[in-house]
């Protein structure tokens, strides 16, 4: 259960939003919409505790995330505009090392399975810099399949993906949400998934 009360965000002298309230419970997902520059990315970074809000508070299971710290971060997964994917490493190495950073470990077989699921079979050992734009995104999204987290915060996850990959990712999100997870995402396209809430900035 993630909730926020009277959040506000200021960039330069521009107030992107003020007094924003939101609440997303288990089994629900939130679609953050808005024009270019409305403040979607800024909101997601605030919700993930990367940057502090100008005002307001964010609660996770009723407790402020500032005091929760690590306990919040362990249950949360944030994927932003940037890949967080090392161009020199192969998809396989990227995935296993990301898991180790999270303090878990991932067997090679599991990693291979996740990559195959995202259509990267045969590219497991090719350094990421040789991959196409969409394939790079897929490596990133494969983390969704292997990391156990209750709350997903995804910034434009559908960018650069082809139709097949969009379906695959939608499936993954539905699975996560119906299993009691929470997802917050931005996208300029409309997404037809059950149990969605919409927030327009």
């Amino acid at each position: 259960m993630l909730s926020a009360t009277s959040l506000s965000c200021v960039r330069g002298e521009r107030h992107l939003f003020d007094g924003l309230d939101l609440a997303v419970g288990p089994g629900e997902w939130l679609h953050v919409q808005g024009e270019n520059g409305a403040g979607k990315t800024s909101l997601l970074r605030i919700l993930s505790s990367l940057s502090p809000p100008a005002a307001g508070e964010i609660l996770w299971r009723g407790q402020p995330i500032k005091t929760l710290g690590e306990d919040y971060r362990r249950e949360m997964l944030f994927l932003g505009h940037h890949g967080a994917v090392k161009e020199e490493l192969t998809p396989l190495e990227n995935l296993t090392l990301a898991a180790q950073l999270d303090g878990t470990s991932l067997s090679e077989a599991d990693a291979m399975k996740a990559l195959a699921r995202f259509g990267l079979r045969g590219r497991e050992d090719l350094p990421v810099r040789f991959l196409s734009a969409g394939q790079k995104r897929r490596v990133l999204l494969a983390r969704l399949a292997v990391r156990q987290a209750t709350l997903w915060i995804l910034d434009e996850p559908f960018t650069a993906l082809d139709v097949k990959a969009v379906d695959m990712l939608s499936g993954l999100i539905v699975e996560h949400v119906t299993g009691g997870g929470i997802a917050i995402l931005t996208s300029h396209q409309s997404i037809l998934l059950p149990n969605g809430k919409v927030l327009v900035l």
């Binding site: 990367l50 690590e70 971060r73 090392l97 999270d102």
Partner: protein, 221 residues
């Protein structure tokens, strides 16, 4: 804790993958050291006199060159964000990254220094002191450098700004490091210098990761 080793392993793997990186820091060291006889002239007595200073300054510059790339690639591709959001305390991860930086840039210098010392006609005792002083000093350079790297992260012209911030802080390390070798050569004994260097290392080992972490959090806000 395993996350720390994971990050060291990852950074070493990346260094190997970029192949040239470790080798070229070394070559930079060699070339800078070799430039001086070219710029100054070949008199052996003069060269022997300035050898400890030049070797140490070159080691310092070689370490410093790699600093800009300590956090920048991880920042650019979003890995640093993920590290901040990781359940492992950021300080530990940062300590791991600093350790990896030392292994890839400081350690090779320590190993190579004696060979270059021969070029300047240092005797084996002086060589030994040189190696010990570098062994104590280069980790300190990595530690202090990390603070500067974190402070200048993502800033335009960061590389040069970084050296501006870091070089003044390197002064004591340089003085005690080069001083140890010179003291040995002049017969006053290097013990004092080396123990001061060790004390600074302990101090740096405590505070630098902390300051670096704070600076990184600010850079990412």
């Amino acid at each position: 804790m395993s996350a720390v080793f994971a990050i060291i392993r990852r950074d070493l793997l990346l260094a190997m993958r970029r192949k040239s990186e470790v080798l070229t820091a070394l070559f930079f060291f060699i070339i800078v050291v070799s430039l001086f006889p070219l710029g100054i002239g070949p008199e052996p007595a003069l060269l022997r006199k300035i050898a400890p200073g030049i070797l140490w300054v070159a080691a310092l510059l070689a370490t410093m060159l790699g600093l800009a790339r300590l956090f920048a690639p991880d920042h650019a591709d979003g890995t640093l964000e993920q590290m901040v959001l990781s359940p492992t305390p950021l300080g530990l991860l940062i300590a791991g990254k600093i350790a990896a930086h030392w292994i890839t840039t400081g350690l090779p210098l320590v190993l190579l220094a004696p060979v270059l010392g021969i070029q300047f006609d240092l005797d084996s005792g002086a060589q030994g002191i040189l190696v010990v002083s570098l062994l104590l000093g280069t980790p300190l350079l990595s530690l202090i450098g990390a603070i500067g790297a974190a402070l200048t992260l993502g800033l335009r012209g960061g590389g040069v700004l970084l050296s501006l911030l870091v070089l003044p802080l390197y002064v004591p390390t340089l003085i005690f490091g080069a001083g140890a070798v010179e003291a040995y050569i002049s017969g006053t004994g290097a013990g004092g210098h080396l123990s001061l260097l060790a004390a600074l290392l302990v101090l740096g080992g405590f505070f630098a990761p902390w300051a670096t972490t704070a600076a990184l959090r600010i850079a990412l806000e």
